[in-house]
């Protein structure tokens, strides 16, 4: 059964179809939130609220305005941006945010430690980027979504997405190089 059908059934109150939608998108949503530099607790709260909003508003989903992937990513993006714009969150970033738990994948200890250090450095560098740039960078790694759909989510043209993405990567690279050297 395809995801469009499941979203349609979710709108009709079908809990099994909703569970399939959650199963299909949870990995991508957590991946997206992780790449935005959010810690696992915040990512879990935002992902949960994303799916509950999807459930509550499923009857208002209009496929003519974009596919389910675009819709779900838009909900997650708006919640993540709102989370990052909270004053208490800003203080946390200024004080040095807690790095996220990077999955170790059962690597050797040295490699796992290096990966954890790199993750912490990247997390700190992401915290210095504008939230919208973090969202754009993370969206560019979202599976099964093209540039036009990212532009739809970000509310700008595909050309603007390319330019902003290039600038965000350059800025992140500069921050990482400054921190490293």
């Amino acid at each position: 059964m395809d995801i469009d059908t499941d979203v349609g059934r979710t709108a009709a109150g079908d809990h099994a179809a909703f569970a399939r939608v959650v199963e299909a998108y949870q990995g991508r949503i957590f991946g997206y939130l992780g790449r935005m530099g959010l810690d696992s607790a915040s990512a879990e709260d935002i992902a949960q609220e994303t799916f509950l909003r999807l459930w509550r508003n499923a009857r208002q989903f209009d496929p003519s305005l974009g596919g389910p992937t675009t819709w779900i990513l838009t909900i997650a993006r708006n919640l993540a941006l709102s989370h990052l714009s909270r004053p208490e969150r800003r203080v946390e970033i200024e004080d040095g945010a807690e790095p996220p738990d990077i999955p170790s994948d059962a690597r050797p200890p040295d490699e796992a430690l290096l990966a954890k250090q790199q993750g912490a450095r990247l997390h700190a560098a992401l915290a210095r980027l504008a939230p919208k740039d973090r969202s754009l960078l993370a969206a560019s790694y979202f599976e099964d979504i093209d540039l036009a759909e990212i532009a739809h989510v970000e509310g700008c043209s595909a050309g603007a997405v390319k330019t902003r993405l290039h600038r965000a990567r350059a800025r992140l690279r500069t921050i990482l190089e400054e921190d490293h050297g």
Partner: protein, 74 residues
């Protein structure tokens, strides 16, 4: 080190907890869904509404006119 920014960003991904889907589905069972937003009015509905409003205005005008004439006649 900044050259492998792509692989680092890929590695920054988080994984959902094992019971996440089950937990969210259980929460959804306790959460009511919002009703669908009403469909926008079709052209014939606008025409019908306009005709009704016009007829009402005409009746009101006639009533006011006859009331004025009756008042003046007295």
């Amino acid at each position: 080190m900044a050259d492998d920014i792509d692989s680092q960003l890929r590695a920054l991904s988080l994984a959902p907890p094992e019971d996440f889907a089950a937990r969210v589905t259980a929460l959804a069972r306790m959460t009511p869904q919002l009703k669908a937003s009403p469909e926008p009015m079709r052209p014939w509905q606008w025409v019908s509404l306009g005709a009704g409003a016009g007829l009402g205005a005409r009746l009101l005008g006639e009533f006011a006119f006859f009331a004025f004439v009756a008042g003046a006649a007295q």
